[in-house]
Each structure stands twice: as C-alpha cells, then as structure tokens.
C-alpha cells in the first residue's frame, strides 16, 4: 500500500473515532428530525391555556357594541385557551377625554391589556381604530392583529346592516376561488398534483442541499485544520516527515478527510430522506443531481481542505487559526443569507456570478441545479473547470506553504513572507 494511503487510513479511522466527530455527526440529523417533529406536532392551540386578554373599547360611534360582543364571544368560544375579555366603555362625547385618560392609566397599571378607541367616522368615513398598549407580553404580541381582524369584521357587518345588505351574502360573494397545481413531466404524460406543502418543499430542498454542502465542506474542512495543528503542536510532524514527504502527508490527510466527509454526507442524506419519508414529504431528487452533488462536493472539499491545510501549517494554535478563518467563513455565509433570492431566480446574474467564485461554486451550483433543472450544461461544465483550476492552484499553494510552515514555531509568518515561499522552488 502506498504511504499516503496509510496516512489517509489513519486520518479516517482516528477522526471517525473521536467523540467530537460522533457528536457532530449525530447532532445535525437529530436537530433536523427534532425540528420537523416539533413543527408538525405543535401548533398554537397545543401550547396550553394562557390568561385571558383584557380589552377595553371606547366606541365613539355607539353602534358597534352588539356586533363586537358577538364577534369576540365567537372567538373566545372557538379558542378556549386564548380567551379575550371585552369591556365596552360607556361613552358620551363631552366626557370622552376624561374617560380616555382614565383608560390609559388603567392600561399603564396593567388592569387592561389593550385599550382601543373606535373613532366616530369609522362606519362611513376615514375614522381609525387606535390601540393603546403598555409593555405587551411576548406571548400576546399577535393579539392586536387578531383583535384588529375581529373589529374589522364587526365594522363591515355593521356597514352591511346599515345598507340593508346581508353579511352572509357578502361573504358568499367574496369567497376565494380554490386552486390546484399540477406539474407536467417533460417526457411522459404523468401529472403530479402538488399540494402547497410540496411547493414549499420545492423551495426547501435546494436550500437543504446547499446547507448540506456548506456543512460538509466547512465542518469537515475544519477537521483538516485541527488535525494539522495537532500534529504540529504535539511535535509529531518531524517524525512523520522523516518517513514521508510533506506532499504525501498532505495528500493522505486530504484523502482521509474526503472519505470521512463522504461518510458524514451519506449518513446525513439518508437521515434527511428517512425523516422526510417518515413525515410523508415526497422529495424529488434526480440521479443526475446526486452525481453533480458528488462532483461538486469532492472538488469543493479539495479546494477548501487544501486551503485549510496551508493555513493550519502556519499557525501554532487553534485559536490563532480561527482568527484567520474568520474572513473565509464570511464568504461562505453569502449564499446562505441570499438563498431565497437564488432559489427564486436560479438563472439570474447574481446566481451566475456566484457560481464562478470557487469557494462558493459547489454551494451555489447545487442550489441552482436542485431549484431548476434547466441550468445550461455549458455552464455546469465551465463551473466545474473553474473549480478544478482553483483546486490545482490551491493544492500547489498549500503544498508550498505547508512544506515550510509546518516546521515553523513561534511567530506566525506574515503575508509577504508566505508569498516569498511561493516563489521558492
């Protein structure tokens, strides 16, 4: 067996055995499963009862009491855990100011949660409803919106009554037209009926693939740096270099960690697929997407791990390396924060430009490929070629830096010194 295969074998076996690895391997799928389970099992109704919201209303029109009481009563009987206590304040025009001052004080002293003033032109003019609250609890933050809807319904109903128009008829007239979405396959004559949930999945699957790529490249790449720094700080490196060349060492390490990364990917994809099936979500993944994913992952990982091997070799401690890692990690966040734009417009200029920035190519291309099956083959091949060129360059640079940096202790070399190493044969 060639020496660098032995290095790869050790790297793989020793990394897979570490507690940190097993923990991070299991945690990601567990968290994903946990979130899916939690979201599908819980809704607001199941959180449990909360104390009733006390709402005081000054109705300056003096016409809405009956409608409001019936709307609020209906809501409370439908939502037994989220009661609203409505109190209509008796209003007369001349005392309204005094009354409103009193009500605001009551809100400040938490005897009312919300005080609402309905202006008198609300039925036939530009009148508004005014909400007064004081330090609403986070759990009740959605209540003004709910109450606004209830009052709106009450006001519309009252307007109908004034026009002698049946609210039931209005509702019947305003009924929404239901919709159904069918996806036609390009080849056969099958029609897939898509539920709204599936359409959301259509957005989420590309994100999931991109995130998987991100985790696979960055997390396992970090392992590269940890491993290099461990060998450097435990001074085992010189013993190693007496048996093998620096390049063999680096190549072996990269190969071992690629194997480890593929193991992690395999387990995560299987876990995600299993979780989706378990929850009855149908994910459409084509074989070609998986193949592209494999290619991009391999190249992306080679690029990033070569980079980190170089960085790791010039640092003396993990803390020092992480300082250098900061700016690099920021680049990776770019597609993560703009994923929504990328999914909506996978053929846009932004997506195309990001596809050709080597560290981001794997993430962005996988996102685009899973969001839209019509990415031009020329573009795919071009992005792969750019990535291959970047990988070759990264390995060339890393090998030079690694060779010199790995034996340097003490002060970390500056950028100019590293550039000088690159010029050396």
């Amino acid at each position: 067996m060639h020496k660098f295969l032995k290095v790869a074998q050790r790297e793989y076996l020793e990394t897979v055995k570490t507690k940190v690895f097993i923990f991070s391997l299991l945690m990601a799928p567990l968290i994903v499963c946990g979130i899916i389970f939690f979201v599908s099992r819980t809704s607001l109704d199941k959180i449990g009862p909360r104390p009733p919201i006390k709402v005081a209303v000054s109705d300056l029109t003096n016409q809405l009491t009956a409608e409001l009481e019936s709307r609020f009563g209906e809501y409370s009987s439908l939502n037994p855990n989220r009661q609203i206590q409505l109190r209509m304040l008796e209003t007369e025009q001349d005392t309204s100011r005094k009354l409103s001052d009193w009500a605001k004080t009551e809100v400040r002293e938490k005897r009312f949660d919300i005080y609402i003033v309905l202006e008198d032109s609300i039925l036939d003019g530009p009148g508004q409803m005014q909400f007064y609250t004081c330090g609403l609890k986070p759990a009740e933050i959605d209540m003004p919106w709910t109450i606004e809807n209830l009052i709106n319904t009450a006001v519309v109903n009252r307007r109908c009554q004034l026009q002698e128009f049946s609210p039931q008829l209005l509702e019947k007239l305003r009924r929404r037209v239901p919709s159904k979405h069918a996806e036609l396959s390009t080849a056969g004559d099958t029609e897939n009926i898509k539920s709204p949930g599936q359409r959301v999945m259509g957005m989420m699957v590309p994100f999931f693939f991109m995130y998987l790529m991100f985790l696979g490249i960055v997390v396992t790449g970090q392992q590269m740096m940890t491993s290099v720094i461990e060998e450097k700080s435990s001074r085992v490196i010189e013993v190693l270099l007496s048996a093998i060349s620096p390049f063999e060492l680096m190549a072996g390490k990269i190969l071992g960690l690629v194997g480890m990364g593929l193991t992690v990917m395999g387990i995560w994809v299987a876990a995600a697929y299993g979780a989706a099936r378990w929850q009855g979500l149908d994910i459409e993944v084509t074989a070609s997407l998986l193949i592209y994913f494999g290619i991009y992952y391999l190249l992306g990982f080679l690029f990033f791990s070569a980079l980190l091997a170089g960085i790791g070799s010039i640092c003396n401690s993990l803390q020092e390396a992480q300082t250098l890692m900061g700016p690099i990690s920021l680049i990776f966040v770019l597609p993560l924060i703009s994923w929504f734009n990328l999914v909506r417009n996978p053929q846009g200029v932004f997506a195309r430009v990001l596809s050709f920035i080597p560290p981001l190519t794997p993430m962005v291309m996988v996102l685009r490929l899973s969001a839209d099956s019509n990415v031009a083959l020329v573009e795919i091949i071009a992005s792969i070629l750019v990535l291959i060129a970047a990988v070759v360059l990264a390995i060339w640079v890393a090998a030079k830096v690694f060779r010199t940096g790995i034996l340097m202790y003490g002060k970390r070399p500056g950028l100019w010194e590293v550039l000088r190493w690159l010029r050396q044969s």
């Binding site: 050790r10 020793e14 435990s234 001074r235 490196i237 010189e238 007496s242 048996a243 060349s245």
Partner: protein, 303 residues
Amino acid sequence: MNAISLENVSKFFGNVRAVDDLTVLVPTGSIYGFLGPNGAGKTTTIRMIMNIIRPDKGKISIFGDGSIEQVKARIGYMPEERGLYRKMTVRKVLSYFGALKGVTASELAKRVPSLLKQIDLISWADKKVEELSRGMHQKLQFAVTVINNPDLLILDEPFSGLDPLNLDLLKTIILQMRDQGKTIIFSTHAMHEAEELCDFILLINRGKPVIDGKLDQIRSQYRSNAVSVELEGDAGFIETLPIVAGIHTHGRRLEIKLTDGGDPQQLLRALLEHVPVLVFEVKVPSLHEIFVSLVGADNAQVS
C-alpha cells in the same frame, strides 16, 4: 564507504549563517558525534541531512549518491522536538510509523511485540500514548525511531531529559547497533556523553567546524604533554631529568610538564629507577578542555 557525506553545505536564515561551509564524511559503521553549544548549527545540519530543510549551498548524499527520499526507509530519525499521537495506543503508533517507513505488516506483527519487550513496555501495548509517563514516552519515541531496523540512525539530542536507567538502555542499544555495522549520528551539547560513545567527533561553533576527526586522534593532537604522579619518597631528583620542563605540586600529587617531544614512558622508567610509583597518569585533555581552548571560554557554555 561513507554513509553520509556533506560537501560545502551552507544554510542561512536571513543574515544568520546557521551552517557555514560544512564538509563532513561519516564512515559506515561508526558513531559520529555532532558537538557544540546551543545554537551552533547541529539541529540545522541534521534537518538538512533529513531533507526537512534544504541547504542553500552544497551537496548532501546518503548511502553513496541516493537521495534522501529513496532511502528514508533505511533511516531512523529522532528529532529534538519529540512527539507522538497522544490518542493512539502504543502498539498502533509503533505499527503506523513502521508502516510509513515501509515495514511490511507481517514483519511488523513480529517486530512490534519484540521491540516493546526490549524496552519493557509490552504491558502498556494497548494503552494510549497520553497515559504513559515521561520516561516511557521517551522509550517509545526511541522504539518508533528504530522500528524499521535502520542502517543509519540519526538522533538529535537523544540524551536530553532522560533518567539514568533509560540513558543506560539507550546507550546499550546504540552500541549494539554499532556492533551490527550500523551507522549512528547523534548531536549533543554534553561533551562527556560524546567521549563515552563516539568514534568520530565533529565540533561546531556558530555554524563552522572547529574540529573534525577520530576522537583518539583529536585527543593525542591536543595532548597537553603533562603527567600526574604520586610517589613514595623524595621527588627532588625529577627537576634534574632532561625531559622535564616544570613541576607543580598539589599536596602529594605532582603535575609534571614534559618538554616538547618528551615521552611519558621514558619518564615512568626514570621514576621507577629512583622511587616506588603509586599513581602515574598521562593527562588526556577532555573534549571540554579542547573546546574551551579552541573557541574561548565565552563561547563554550557547555555542561
């Protein structure tokens, strides 16, 4: 034949000449000591031999003209900065480095236990390296160095920090390997260890060779031409002997300085004609004294 030859090798770190025009030939089957104070260039020289750093000038060849990468499997190297994988077991560390040095799996299955027995670590074979004591760690490090049964052993400061028991063990193994015809190079700043083991000595200071050659020759070359004696009876006649240049008295002991070309054996015969001789010692200078006399006391901050 020479196991290693360095020809006009130089290495600069910025403006510092770490090694300056060094030429050394290490004969096969010898123990060669690289001596010198801290910072003399010993580790740099050894690292250049191992191709861990490259010389700026000069040529290094090992086993004839083979490049180091081709002969790494025949070399055992113990660096000054030592370390092993802390999370691996003793047995696995030894097997891993053996495999990297090209020892076959079947050979390793035999060699690992026998080597662990030899250094008395067999009961620790399946413990993790981090559980070993410092002394055991050092023994294991040495075992890693010799796992490939090397023809050439290069040890950088092998004796620093060893307890007396391990020191003796290491010296025994080094001498055994020399007797098997293997070549050993080690660096040290402790002169007495070199005197005990070495056939050849290279004394370097500030990157430059000060002395290079066979230990016996070096000693006779720098002989101080003095004899120390203890006699019974009157010693007044000694001053009259033609080969004596001067006498210092330290209590019962007399330091006799001979004239240039004066033979100590002739002195002994002359003494025996007059009085019984209790002690007769031809003064051989220690390496330390030679070094001090050559580079000056300021430089020779050695133990």
